[in-house]
């Protein structure tokens, strides 16, 4: 029983990271109907940025968050204005966006590789191996901090989407872009902002990831895949949906150890993805079904 509790808390902490990881992908897909395959690459690039800030300027990763968010917001807007904007909308555009952003991912990987070589890097802060006690068991301080940051981000995002004009515009555009033009909303600007925001969120995830794991230029692929699983599980309708999807995935992975050997716990997510897609094409929470 104690064991189960420890695992449960571990799963919750993991869910925090997973949610932060998936927000960006979910937002972009929910609003622009574009699958951002460069998502993993952004996470990786953000990890490297954090590492460089830490290594060269001694900036603590958590303090680097605002910097990373701004930098990647700008990068995201740039990507939209420079590339994504030209893709056709609708089904044909979906396929092309997959391939275009995949190309962007390859380029990001290569740039990082050229700058920093393929070696593994890790960030060693003074508190990286400290732990704190929760309900009798010990957990890494960094995992707890990551969870807290993720929760704050979730709340902030939710407030942005529900309380601000911009947020409402984003949600309106997600529902019906054409009506929005009629209502006087500059749809293109909303798209650009959303893409930037989604990229910024991926950047945030990258900062958090850098404090938890070692990374190299190939980092990010499994994060991308898990983000897909999460947005399918939880739907892209709301921030809360993504958070729920993250919780489901995290618990499935952590508790699957009772059913499958530890090696296969990563496969659990993918199997879950396929099963859910087949049984409920709209995701567990019955969101929009793509035709």
């Amino acid at each position: 029983m104690r064991e189960a509790l420890t695992l449960a808390i571990s799963a919750i902490l993991l869910a925090g990271f997973y949610a932060a990881m998936a927000y960006g992908l979910g937002l972009i897909y929910g609003v622009l109907r574009i699958v951002n395959l460069a998502h993993g690459g952004i996470i990786m690039a953000a990890a490297y940025l954090t590492w460089q800030l830490f290594d060269r300027f001694g900036i603590d990763p958590y303090l680097a968050i605002p910097i990373a968010v701004v930098v990647f917001f700008l990068i995201g807007v740039g990507l939209y204005l420079g590339l994504v904007r030209f893709l056709p909308r609708g089904p044909a555009g979906a396929v092309q966006s997959l391939l275009l952003l995949f190309g962007v991912w390859l380029v990001i990987r290569n740039i990082v590789y050229l700058l920093f070589t393929g070696n593994d890097q890790a960030i060693q802060t003074r508190y990286a191996t400290s732990s704190a006690g929760i309900l009798g068991a010990h957990y890494s301080v960094t995992r707890i901090l990551v969870f807290l940051v993720a929760v704050v981000a979730l709340v902030a995002l939710h407030l942005l989407l529900t309380r601000t004009y911009l947020g409402k515009a984003i949600r309106a555009v997600a529902q019906n872009p054409d009506s929005c033009t009629l209502a006087g909303i500059n749809v293109e600007r909303v798209y650009a902002f959303t893409f930037g925001l989604g990229t910024a969120l991926a950047g945030l995830a990258g900062v958090l990831a850098s404090t938890l794991f070692a990374f190299n230029p190939s980092f990010g692929a499994s994060e991308l895949l898990k983000s897909f699983v999460i947005i399918v599980l939880g739907g892209m309708g709301s921030v809360l949906g993504i958070a729920s999807g993250a919780v489901v995935l995290a618990f499935a992975e952590v508790f699957s150890i009772y059913v499958v050997p530890p090696y296969l716990t990563t496969a659990v997510g993918f199997v879950l993805l396929v099963v859910v897609l087949v049984l409920r094409p709209g995701g567990l929470f019955g969101q929009r079904v793509l035709r």
Binding site: E3, T6, L7, S10, L14, Y113, T117, G118, N119, D120, A122, Q124, A128, T129, S130, S131, A137, H138, Y139, S140, V141, T142, R143, L212, F213, A214, F215, N216, S218, S222, E253, V254, I257, P261, P262, Y263, T265, T266
Partner: protein
Amino acid sequence: MAVITMNGRSARLPAIVALATLGAAALGLAACTPTQSSDDSGGADAIPAKIVIGATLPLTGTESKTGGRFKQGYELAVEAENADGGLDLGGKKVPVELKLLDDTTDQAKAVNLAQRLITQDKVNFLLGTYSTTLVEAQSTVAEQNQIPYVNGGGAATSIYGKGFKWIFGTLAPVENLATTEMQWISEQQAAGKLPKPAKVALIWENTSHGKDFRKGVKDFATAHGTDFQIATDESFALDGKDFSAILSTVRTAKADLLMVDAHLPDFITMQRQYLSSTMCNKLITYGARGAESDARAALGQKGVDYILSAVWWNAQLGDKGLNKDFIDRFTAKYGAAPEWYQAEGYEAARALLAAIAGAGSVNKQKVRDTLSTMNIDSILPGGKLSFPPANGGQADYPFVVQQNLPDGTSPIIYPADVATGKGVAPNPNCKG
């Protein structure tokens, strides 16, 4: 099948006939393929103007760091040989040229480039690439073309268990890593420092490296009856992110010894999670990992204290003879101390060169035979290097066990004849 028909006839029958004919034709035609006219011999006995040794290494890609190190070793050995004009073949000094290509850590490229080196560049001999799967794939090319292939980058016994005659490896089997560590542990048990029987939590990455490590531990445990009890035996996928599941099985097993085989990034992640969960065991080892400066940088000195590791070669192995020679040469050329990667690369190249000199020609068969029977002095533990045919051409020698001490050093603690320090067990930070 509701087919839209335009002239009223279904398109199925002709299609099926067509496919069937195609299938039969394919099977029949497959028999009619030209065969290659036989190639030239394995090399005349004439003394060539230069000896060309071909090799591929992962100079880019995931293993680029290690590939670069092997390159250093190869180049150092070739340079040393050329220092006095070249290799002595029947009284004449023949310069040695190393033709090195980048296989980008990709199996298919390693195979194709090896093919190219053999058939297009017409190299005399091959040095191997790095990482077991690449070596295993590339070795088939060498065997098919009957050209001697000496490598320092593939340790899995599966490479040498295929009955190949042309493949030679300087890396001792990873099982020896486990065995050597277990031997030291046995000594500690005899001295009362570690419990007998000792509970072992065995965690291994799902690669040939990990599997061989696991085999070594299990074989030793079985051979030593009641001294060891394997409480957990689990594998994990490379580049794992969350080891809490595995670590929790270790915790519930209440193991005395935690024996893990992992690559650097997984070691760092796992050790971090281990430390933060305030777990502790009387002894920890991560296979070959732990003593690297990268590990210390990522985890801090306290994070790596008392970690046991075993490597194929260590610079502390000797300040005399061949070892001193190698270390001095290396430091002079590259300005840093060598690690086992460079040492293994160096030895592989040196062994090949020694075999060519011993055979007195570039005849591939002769050099292969020399490699098969040679037993030369070496910088490797044990002082000797040979490629016993009984092992399929893989060298066999003990590993050196080292332990991280709080003062920042990692002395060799076993085998006794090369030890530079005393090991500590159990972990003083963990008495329970």
